[in-house]
Amino acid sequence: MTEQQAKKALSIGFASPIIGAALGVLMGLAIFDLFNAFEEWTTVVLIALLGFSIWLGATKSGDALSYDNKHGGLTAAKGAANLNSVLAIVWMVIGFITSLVMGLSALQNFRQYPEAEMGQQPYNPGAFTVEFDSSVFFGEFIPAVVIVAMSMFGFVFMLVATSKVAK
């Protein structure tokens, strides 16, 4: 890797998470404004976009750090790698909490209560059945599984990316 390439990698290392976060926020807002709804799969796409931008930043800052360890002269490389590591932690925690909340909320939607009719028996809170609902399973539960897997294993890839050894 030449010095020019290392500087370019460092720039991407700093810029990528910022651009990814800004794009993610704007995209989320635009979807909410256009469709007045925020589906679970949209959350998956947004978290994946954020994750990809942090992973790219981590990889590039890892390359720059690797160059700095071997040749020196790129002092900001460590800062970029640390920044991306911190962002990776924040991203992982947000993803994990989101998936847990989404998964638990999807579980509640598997419960089916009998429809209340006027003049019928009073409401019985214990009279629910647990039924498989494919729209809840694929629309709410599977996104939660995807997010938890993505946040945990993506986090490992990000940590590995920021810890490259000079060759």
Partner: protein, 185 residues
């Protein structure tokens, strides 16, 4: 550091990090399963009650409602949550063992240091989760009524707290005191 050594150190560090990720994902799955099991085991059952006819105004039907009756049961979710903590703690311990071995056998790299730090954090997190679970079980038991079956009381409060204490003791000793010997070949 030779390429072969570097590769082995890298592989061990990645394995350590992956183990923590697997542990956390397993904890997530078991927590979801525990919440699902709560649908079928509830401390309350509902019984239809008809209001006394003498209390009802003339010309009106006596009103009916469902009364909540307290009938505590041993909920599997208690043990499932404990299992989730156990799985996470075991993978964290395993990850820490691998990270320690990597640090002892190979020259320290940024990745091996990262694996070491994260395995330590995972062990601490497992301990915190155990403490929170034990304390929550204790506080929940205080809110339960006294006329509870002894067997249910034992299995839903005393046994989980004892098991949690045992788990915490094992994890703390294994992680910080009785560390497995690292062979230095």
């Amino acid at each position: 550091m030779s390429n072969q050594t570097e590769l082995s150190a890298r592989k061990l560090s990645v394995t350590s990090l992956l183990l923590i990720a697997i542990g956390a994902t397993s904890w997530w799955a078991i927590t979801i399963l525990a919440n699902y099991s709560d649908f079928f085991y509830d401390d309350y059952r509902y019984e239809l009650v008809t209001e006394d006819a003498d209390m009802t105004p003339k010309g009106e039907e006596p009103s009916q409602f469902y009364e909540r009756i307290y009938e505590p049961v041993v909920s599997p979710s208690t043990y499932l949550i404990l299992t989730g903590i156990l799985v996470f703690a075991m993978t964290a311990l395993w990850a820490r063992q691998i990270a320690n071995r990597t640090n002892a056998q190979f020259e320290a790299t940024r990745l091996s240091k990262t694996a070491s730090v994260w395995s330590f954090i995972a062990v601490i997190l497992a301990l915190v989760m155990g403490v929170v679970f034990g304390f929550a079980t204790f506080v929940e038991s205080l809110s339960r009524r006294e006329d509870i079956d002894v067997g249910v009381r034992l299995l839903s409060t005393y046994v989980p707290i004892l098991l949690t204490a045992g788990l915490l003791l094992f994890v703390a000793l294994r992680a910080f005191v009785l560390k497995p010997e690292v062979k230095n070949d």
